[in-house]
């Protein structure tokens, strides 16, 4: 197995286990509590509205929006880590058919791995800090994956044309 394939397969399996463990942890210790909070704060917002208390209603809706923001990102991170991990493993199996030099393939493999780690990491960091840095980390990771993916797609297409 070539170096680039090893990088993709081993990193992919490690990220898949990491993504699943994150999902298991989240399901056990955070998801149900988050869902309860989302439901309760939304209902409270409307209950306060029915009582004519718009200030309390606004506060409840803010709590709902904050919890929903964190929940959506946590679930997204779980699915993206596992999805990207699967992509790495699949590419690891097919990488010999990318018509590029091993050096370029190794560079692409590391770009895919680094992007697959940093993109969801940036997303989950947004639950701690909504500033520009987590967004930049996520954007950087996503860009790495997209650029590498485009190069791999071209590599496959070149290989098909040559055969």
């Amino acid at each position: 197995m070539s170096g680039s394939r090893k990088v993709l397969v081993v990193s992919g399996v490690v990220i898949a286990i990491w993504g699943m463990s994150f999902g298991l942890y989240y399901a056990l210790f955070a998801e149900h509590q988050a869902l309860d909070k989302i439901g309760a704060s939304l209902a409270m917002g409307f209950t306060h509205g029915a009582n004519g208390d718009l200030i309390e209603a606004g506060a409840s809706l803010q709590e709902y929006a904050d919890t929903q923001f964190d929940y959506v990102r946590s679930v997204d991170v779980h699915s993206h880590w596992i999805g990207l991990a699967m992509l790495l493993i699949v590419f690891g199996l097919a990488f010999d058919r990318v018509s590029l030099t091993e050096r370029v393939k190794l560079l692409l493999a590391w770009s895919l791995v680094v992007g697959s780690v940093t993109f969801p990491l940036g997303v989950i960091l947004q639950t701690l800090d909504r500033g520009i840095i987590p967004q930049a980390v996520a954007a950087l990771g996503a860009s790495l994956v997209i650029i590498a993916l485009a190069a791999v797609a071209l590599g496959f297409a070149r290989s098909e044309r040559g055969s």
Partner: protein, 349 residues
């Protein structure tokens, strides 16, 4: 049946079952559920206008139930299919896993057991609820779902240990790549589908995601304010609150179709690449193999494209998207038959 054949057959079967479940869910549950949520939200605005906080609260419990019903079914659909993908992946890694065939088969069975227990339990969450549960927030169905997830993790860790022990064994187990037309087209087509999905996802995240999230909150606040404004009127005019509910539904729908298109095109791309490796184990005439590949790729484009067009074209687009899903299912069943024929003729996998 070897561990690899078992994983390939189980993997394709899981994907087929997950997709049929998804199609049934889309046709019979999804839209009806969304309509019920909209109707209940409209009733909530009536409750606010008539200062009935008890009714507002109980209507929200109803919405919670509807959301849980939808959420658990989406989770079931996603997990069954993803476990199918993972099973196929593990099947192709089998030659690189340096543990005995018997142990590999046990791990494969453990993996498939978890891959069945988790989604079935997730499906049951809405119906079982907290009945007889020793915990305050987690019911028995959730406990079994987590157990299923744990079985999958244990199996994957087992395979990973075998993968790390591989050493020189991989050289002897290395296989000649399949260069058939079907395999090549699936590999290229799949990668381009994934790239299209990533570009769409990045566009949505940059230009729409945060706007949608803030629009939700504004819509909910406006919904309450517009309803409260009617509280002291002798004859409440609910036109404004109702139109806000409608707008809220549209934002939800816009987000839902974008996420569905994004995830489906990427998943179909991944599926196409995985199936590129299955082709050499599909014992069918070359013409039939080509037909299934073309059908699969057409369906893989049609479904996400028409899901995205659902907001502008309505139910017609929904119907065409479902037909795209059906094309993928038919192609998968065709390939599964080929794999089973290959196993029956004793060629092994």
């Amino acid at each position: 049946m070897t561990s690899r054949t078992f994983l390939i057959v189980s993997g394709i079967s899981l994907i087929v079952v997950g997709m049929i479940f998804g199609d049934v869910f889309a046709v019979f549950v999804l839209h009806q559920n969304a309509n019920r949520i909209g109707e209940t939200l409209t009733a909530v605005t009536d409750a606010i206008a008539s200062k009935d906080s008890v009714a507002a609260n109980s209507l929200f419990s109803k919405i919670g139930g509807l959301l849980e019903n939808r959420g658990t079914k989406v989770d079931t659909h996603v997990h069954v299919i993803d476990f199918g993908y993972l099973a196929l992946l593990l099947a192709f890694l089998q030659p690189h896993i340096a543990i005995g065939e018997r142990a590999r088969k046990r791990l494969a069975v453990l993996f498939i057991a978890g891959a069945v227990i988790l989604p079935v339990s997730v499906f049951a969450i809405h119906y079982v609820g907290l009945s007889y549960s020793p915990f305050e927030a987690i019911g028995w169905a959730s406990i079994f779902a987590d157990l299923g997830g744990l079985l999958v993790i244990v199996a994957v860790v087992g395979f990973l240990i075998g993968l790390c022990r591989v050493g020189g064994a991989s050289k002897t187990n290395e296989e000649t790549p399949d260069r058939s037309w079907a395999s090549r087209v699936l590999l290229s087509g799949g990668t381009f589908l994934i790239l299209a999905g990533f570009l769409h996802g990045a566009y949505y995240a940059v230009f729409n995601l945060q706007a949608h999230e803030s629009q939700y909150q504004v819509a909910l606040e406006t919904m309450i304010n517009a309803s409260v404004a009617q509280q002291n009127k002798p004859t409440p005019d609910m036109k404004d609150p109702y139109s806000v509910v409608e707008g809220y539904g549209l934002i939800q729908a816009e987000k839902a179709v974008n996420i569905a298109a994004h995830s489906h095109i990427i998943e179909f791309g991944l599926l196409a690449i995985l199936l590129a490796f299955v082709q050499k184990y599909v014992f069918l005439a070359e013409a039939w193999k080509k037909r299934w590949v073309v059908l699969l790729l057409i369906g893989s484009v049609v479904l996400p494209a028409f899901v995205l067009l659902e907001l502008s074209l309505g139910l017609v687009a929904g119907g065409i998207a479902d037909a795209g899903g059906l094309m993928v299912i038919i192609a998968l069943v065709g390939m599964l038959v080929g794999v089973l024929r290959n196993n029956r003729r004793g060629a092994g996998v």
